[in-house]
Every structure is written in structure tokens, then in C-alpha cells.
């Protein structure tokens, strides 16, 4: 690319920042920009020279995204920025730092604590937490003190901590870094071969027969089942299975509704700043003239059939659709916060005996569907929306959910790697993401049962709260909408709700009710066998 031999590069957000290729003529941004500053950085990749304007085309992929794009352009014009707030220093990163310092010159714990807390992200770090991190680095920091003899850092007679062996320093150097890649799987052409002639191929041996086409994220790949098709490297492939660290797939024909792989790098939530602008634009029909005609028409229909979301409040619609009863809300707080909200709402609806079956969300809203009539329950005052969206959902319900969610395991994995509990690389061994020496999920389960207050669980929770779960954003939203919830009961799906309902089935909601899923799968097969 730098030599100018490629005509175009397709990328995720990886190339947003820090790339300085002079002769990019045009940036084509497919989908929504997600943030004003982000959009500016992206556009800035084109004609990255002082004396020429940058050019870009924004291609919204749905009506909501068209509004978001317009809001982002306005923000860019006003040079309004939405860079995220500085974050609080993470404990897993601190653990790596402490080990790193010990691998250099020996240190006194008081001096290191003073130095660390002199930095802005760690200014609020308590001595208790610091000591817990130090203890973790030295021997794992467990209440059951069985690893003293294997200590990685030791306090000498001079009161200074130092690495206990040269091997510790070597391992630190091999594992230094705080970017944890999502575990990746290679995609290779291959097929299922029948175990014996005449045996069904479906239960045969996976064989690699062709070349590697690229990589998929493990989380995404594991959602597929044999026979699913997906678009990859310009071809349509059929998923055959996973063999060690490779997805084995065969070439197939078009016309089978293939899945589109997604990557973490493409999953930034809508910024709070831009969300507020989108809400303002939606509720102000005088601003619609700037929008594409079909988008303005869509909003007119919404106004006619239901209500428009208000800048500060929350619009909730209920309607029946396809044998299910839907509740759709429009918080505009981004996909991650909505995912957390969805988990908590379904728990509460479950308790209200409305038998929720699932939920779907995008950056703008969330749809929950249930067997029971949610709209009727609200009308008959069996269900109060004020209670349903009450701030106390971030109390017990959150704790109960966190205890079992797969998202916490993802967060824990990253913390365990950064803090040095699990090594990515070991002298003489090269481990891929899939072949880490031990499953962090198993470690998480054991640690949570036996030492729930451990510093690494606290680190994983802190990380999840700001990252994967966006608890703070959710909390701010819940307090904003108090007394401002409007409910509209409808006969059928509203214009705004359509784009959220389209999300159903696009991405599985991870992690809940696994046993239930097993039982259902078993029952479904049994039914097939008996019929």
C-alpha cells in the first residue's frame, strides 16, 4: 500500500489512527461513523497532507445510520469532539507494570506506590489495592498461601523487591504488552471425508485439502454449526468444522443466505455525544430536511403511527408480531449498553412471569420478545415500566447475571493474560490463541467459587463495567429517564422498530441458559426421531 501498488484496502477500524499514507485519494466509510472524532480521524486518512482537503463518502447501511451520519457531519463542521473521558487505571495493567519494574532495578514498595499514584489514571488507587496487586505478582495473592516457594518477585533484606530468577525476567519480556488479541482461527479449505466407504460423510474425518484463506475470530466462528455458510475472502464457504486452530470450510454456491463475519474491531458503540445529537435530531422535525427523503418519510410514518423518541426521555412500544409479544425501547446508548440492558430486562420480565424468550439490539434500541402479552400486562397495571426500568436493576439483578455470564469470562481472559496469570508465550513454546496452556474459563469458575474477592476478579469486573458491559453509561441513562418513560401500545410493528427487529437472528446472544439450550436441542432431535 505504501508503495502505491494496491488500488484499494478494505479494513476495520484498525486503520483509523496513525497511518500516514500520503496518496489515499478517498475514504469510503461503510456503515455508521459511531463518533464525531472517529469520523474526523477516518476522513483524515485521505490526502494526508497539509495543503489538500480530505475526501470521504459515508455510506449508511440503514435509516438510523443515515441520521447518525448527518449528526456526525454536523458535529465535524462545528469541530465538536467526542473523545472519550480518561479512564481509571486498570489493575491488570498495574500488575504487569509492577513485575516489569521488578525485572529492572529493585524497588521499595512505598516509593513505587507514590510513583504510581502520581499518575492521573492511578491517582485514586488505594494502598490496599496496590498491596493486593503486589501480592498477586509475587505469589498469586491467594488466601490459601501455597505458592510462597515459587514467588516471582521477592523482598530482599534491603526491603527492595526484585525478580527472583533470570527466568522470570525472560518470561516477562516474552509476554510484555497490554493488547490482547481476540483468539483467531485460520480459515482453511477442506472437507469431511467419510470414515469408511459407504459411511455417512457427515460423521467422517475433517480433512485439510486446500490453502489458508485468512482468519476469523474464535467467538464468531464458534457460533457456526456444520452446514452454515459464510462470506469470506470473496467466496461463499460452507462451515465443516473446527480442527485444532483452523476452521475447515468448503467452497459452495451462492443463494444460501450466508452469514457475514464480524470482528471486535468493528464493534465500537455509538458515542454518547453523537447519541444525544441523534435523539435531538429525531425529535425535531425541522431538522429532517437535511436527511435523505426516504429517511424523513420514515420518521413521518413513525410520528403518524406511534411517537417520536424525545431527547431526554425513553420511548417504549409494545406490539404483537409473529406469535410473539414485543417490547421495544429506544435508549440510543450503543450496542454494548443495550446488550447489558437486554440481559437485565429479560431477567425482570421472567420474574414478572411474562416468559421472555430473547432479545436483540443495535446501537439505537432494543427489542425483547415474550410469550405473554407485555402490552396487556402494562395496561392492566400488572407490569410497571417505571419499575421495569428502575435504577435498582444495577443492584441484585446485575450481580446475579454477572455471576453466570460468558461476558465476564471474556473479560477475565484478557485480565488473566495482561496480569501474567496465563502466559501467552513460554520459552521454547509457541502458543496460538486457541492453544493457551489452560482454559481461562475453567480457572474463572474455580476462582469465583473459592475466592470471589480475589484481585483479578475485581480487575475483570472493573474492565467489564467500563468495556463490555458499559455499566456507567447504562446507569446514567436509567437516571436520565426517571419519570420520562412514555409507553405506546400498538397493533403492529412500528416503523422505527423494524430496523431493530431485523437484528434478530443476526448474532446469537451469548452465554445464557446453556442447559436449557441443551435440553431443547435434545428434545428437538427426539421429536424428529419419533415422528
Amino acid at each position: 500500500m505504501a508503495q502505491g501498488r494496491l488500488k484499494a484496502v478494505v479494513c476495520t477500524s484498525t486503520l483509523d489512527l496513525g497511518i500516514d499514507w500520503g496518496d489515499v485519494d478517498l475514504v469510503i466509510n461503510v456503515g455508521a461513523p459511531k463518533g464525531a472524532s472517529r469520523l474526523m480521524q477516518r476522513i483524515g486518512r485521505a490526502n494526508h497532507r497539509l495543503d489538500e482537503p480530505s475526501k470521504a463518502v459515508i455510506v449508511p447501511s440503514n435509516r438510523f445510520e443515515a441520521i447518525e451520519a448527518e449528526a456526525a457531519l454536523e458535529a465535524v463542521e462545528e469541530a465538536a469532539q467526542d473523545t472519550p473521558d480518561p479512564r481509571v487505571g486498570a489493575l491488570d495493567v498495574l500488575a504487569q507494570h509492577v513485575l516489569g519494574v521488578a525485572c529492572g532495578d529493585p524497588f521499595l514498595e512505598n516509593e513505587l506506590y507514590a510513583e504510581v499514584t502520581s499518575t492521573a489514571p492511578y491517582a485514586g488507587l488505594t494502598r490496599v489495592s496496590f498491596d493486593a496487586v503486589l501480592d498477586f505478582v509475587a505469589t498469586g495473592g491467594y488466601a490459601l498461601r501455597t505458592y510462597e516457594r515459587f514467588a516471582k518477585i521477592k523482598k530482599g533484606e534491603d526491603g527492595r523487591w526484585r525478580a527472583s530468577t533470570a527466568g522470570v525476567i525472560q518470561q516477562y519480556r516474552m509476554n510484555v504488552g497490554t493488547i490482547v488479541e481476540a483468539a483467531m482461527l485460520k480459515v482453511r479449505i477442506g472437507r469431511l471425508k467419510a470414515a469408511r466407504p459407504g459411511a455417512p460423510a457427515a460423521t467422517g474425518i475433517l480433512q485439510r485439502t486446500g490453502r489458508v484463506l485468512g482468519e476469523l475470530e474464535e467467538y464468531w466462528a464458534e457460533q457456526m454449526t456444520v452446514g452454515d455458510t459464510f462470506v469470506f475472502a470473496g467466496e461463499i464457504l460452507r462451515f465443516e468444522g473446527i480442527l485444532e486452530d483452523e476452521v475447515v470450510a468448503s467452497r459452495t454456491r451462492a443463494g444460501t443466505d450466508p452469514k457475514i463475519p464480524s470482528y471486535e474491531g468493528g464493534k465500537f458503540p455509538l458515542s454518547t455525544f453523537l447519541a444525544a445529537r441523534v435523539r435531538a435530531m429525531l425529535s425535531d422535525p425541522s431538522s429532517w430536511s437535511k436527511l435523505p427523503e426516504e429517511v424523513a418519510q420514515w420518521l413521518l410514518w413513525q410520528e403518524e403511527h406511534s411517537l417520536l423518541p424525545e431527547p431526554e426521555g425513553l420511548l417504549v412500544e409494545t406490539f404483537p408480531y409473529g406469535n410473539r409479544h414485543f417490547l421495544v425501547a429506544y435508549p440510543f446508548e450503543g450496542r454494548l449498553a443495550h446488550q447489558t440492558l437486554g440481559m437485565l430486562l429479560t431477567r425482570r420480565l421472567e420474574r414478572a412471569r411474562l416468559r421472555p424468550l430473547g432479545f436483540a439490539c443495535n446501537d439505537y434500541g432494543i427489542a425483547v420478545w415474550a410469550l405473554a402479552d407485555i402490552g396487556a400486562a402494562i395496561a392492566q397495571e400488572r407490569l410497571s415500566l417505571t419499575d421495569l426500568f428502575a435504577q435498582d436493576m444495577l443492584g441484585d439483578d446485575l450481580e446475579a447475571w454477572l455471576a453466570e455470564t460468558a461476558l465476564m469470562k471474556r473479560s477475565f481472559r484478557a485480565c488473566a493474560i495482561i496480569a501474567g496469570l496465563i502466559e501467552r508465550r513460554h520459552p521454547g513454546l509457541r502458543k496460538s490463541g486457541r492453544q493457551v496452556t489452560i482454559s481461562t474459563d475453567l480457572v474463572y469458575d474455580v476462582l469465583r467459587t473459592h475466592e470471589p474477592g480475589h484481585i483479578l476478579l475485581q480487575a475483570a469486573r472493573d474492565d467489564a463495567a467500563t468495556g463490555l458491559l458499559e455499566l456507567r453509561r447504562l446507569a446514567i441513562m436509567l437516571s436520565r429517564i426517571v419519570g420520562r418513560i412514555r409507553h405506546k401500545s400498538l397493533e403492529h410493528v412500528s416503523p422505527l422498530a423494524v430496523s431493530i427487529i431485523l437484528e434478530i437472528g443476526r448474532e446469537a446472544v451469548p452465554g445464557e441458559a446453556r442447559d436449557e439450550m441443551l435440553a431443547q436441542a435434545e428434545a428437538a432431535l427426539m421429536q424428529e426421531a419419533l415422528s
Binding site: 505469589t139 490459601l144 515459587f150 456444520v226 496469570l421 489452560i438 442447559d515 436441542a521 428437538a524
Partner: protein
């Protein structure tokens, strides 16, 4: 007894499987039970795996051994076996028994009291664990079946085989995505047990190690849920469409 009566709910803590001429019970704890000989079989306990990693500077929570032993204690209390067979890799390494904490050593010896105990040799722990009671053997018989750590490839004789080593897990395709769980793998001649240890990972049933070992047309996975077992045919854990399989071609 059939595996499932028509009106029976799909909730069961264990299910019967036959291996050779013997009937065993695959339990949701991951243990295998032989009623006639009152023998309980557990594979791949991998005790002291945490401390094994700690020696190399990876301080895994030192609770894997207590967790595994606590689970084993509950299973033993339920079945009250006359004999317990640890089917190899009872300890993660040969020095593992020496690293047992005082409490864990006591807990393990308590479990061994009043019953026979067989430590079958595994690849991680080829020698008898130091300072612990129990017989040490390369294999043993349970009813008419032979029990050894690593399953033997190739056609079995008349006797069935009970083995561990492979840590089978099944990925079940459910409506909302895959569910990955430990399982028993059996084709009525041979049964490979799930790994019992808290830190023991797993190998997918689709791996060729299983395909080469089993008569695929008779393979069943007894999948372990949080407190019950679920029985699946190959179509569920590795096959495309249920209708394609299990129809032998006419010759």
C-alpha cells in the same frame, strides 16, 4: 431398560450405557458406575495441576484440587462404592502427590477409607502416587470390560473397554449457537470418560482421535449439563443433517 421412556421428562441425573456385556451408569458428575461390582470409575482427575503450573510462575488459583476432591466426595457419598478406579492422570505430574496440602491429603485419604482404590497409570503420572494408599496398575477389569488410561486403537476382542485420556467434549448445535460440554463417548464396545478434574480441558468429539476409535454409526455422546445428562447422536455434535445419517447403503 430403554434410555428414555416416551412420557419420561428429559431430566435425568444419569443414564445407563452398555459396554460389551456390561451395563454401566454414566453419571452427571462425570463418573462411571458399575452396580454389580459397586465400582466407581473417574478419569483424568489431574490433581495438583494448579501447583504444577505455579512451579513455572503461572499462579493458577490453588483451588483445583479441593474443588475436584469435593466433587468426588459427593459422588462417592451418593454411590458408596466398594472400589474406586482412578483411570490414569490422577495427578497432573509425578510429583503431584507430594504437593498435596495437608487438608487435601486428609480429604483424599478419607475418601479412600473402607474401600479398594486403584490408581491406573496415566501418561502424566506413570508411577504410583507417593505416600498414598491404593493399588497401582496399568489396567484392571470391571465386570467383563478392561479399564485402562489410553484407549487402544483397533478392533476390540469380545471384551469392552473403559478409558480416559482424551477428555471428550461435545459441541452441540442448539438454536442460539453451540454449547460446549464434557461428555462420555460410547459405541457400546468402548466408553471414553470425560475428564473429571477442575482444570482439565477438552478435545472435541469431531477430532480424528475419536473418529478413528469408534464405530461412528453407533457413537453416542452422553453430555454433562450442570446437574443432568443429555444423550446425543452424531448428527447433533458433528454432522450436517440428521436425515443423512444412519441409513446403511444397500449392497
Amino acid at each position: 431398560m430403554t434410555l428414555l421412556m416416551r412420557n419420561e421428562p428429559l431430566v435425568r441425573r444419569s443414564c445407563e450405557i452398555s459396554v460389551g456385556a456390561d451395563i454401566f451408569v454414566a453419571d452427571a458428575s462425570g463418573a462411571l458406575w458399575h452396580e454389580a461390582e459397586r465400582t466407581l470409575v473417574v478419569a483424568d482427575l489431574h490433581l495438583e495441576k494448579g501447583s504444577s503450573f505455579a512451579r513455572r510462575g503461572m499462579f493458577l488459583p490453588p483451588y483445583d484440587t479441593p474443588a475436584t476432591l469435593a466433587s468426588l466426595a459427593m459422588t462417592i457419598a451418593r454411590f458408596a462404592p466398594r472400589r474406586v478406579v482412578s483411570l490414569g492422570d490422577g495427578f497432573h505430574d509425578s510429583e503431584g502427590a507430594g504437593r498435596l496440602s495437608f487438608d487435601c491429603r486428609g480429604a483424599l485419604r478419607n475418601l479412600q477409607l473402607g474401600r479398594d482404590w486403584v490408581w491406573v497409570a496415566g501418561n502424566h503420572d506413570p508411577y504410583a502416587p507417593a505416600g498414598l494408599p491404593g493399588d497401582h496398575a496399568l489396567s484392571c477389569h470391571i465386570g467383563g470390560a478392561v479399564a485402562r488410561h489410553e484407549p487402544r486403537r483397533g478392533v476390540l476382542g469380545a471384551e469392552g473397554e473403559i478409558a480416559g485420556h482424551l477428555h471428550p467434549v461435545a459441541n452441540i448445535a442448539a438454536r442460539a449457537g453451540g454449547v460446549r460440554r464434557r461428555c462420555f463417548a460410547t459405541d457400546r464396545r468402548r466408553c471414553v470418560l470425560p475428564a473429571y478434574g477442575a482444570y482439565a480441558g477438552g478435545l472435541d468429539l469431531r477430532d480424528k482421535a475419536f473418529v478413528q476409535l469408534f464405530d461412528i454409526s453407533r457413537l453416542q455422546a452422553v453430555v454433562i449439563g450442570s446437574s443432568r445428562v443429555h444423550v446425543f447422536e452424531p448428527a447433533a455434535f458433528g454432522a450436517a443433517r440428521a436425515k443423512q445419517r444412519a441409513r446403511p447403503r444397500a449392497r
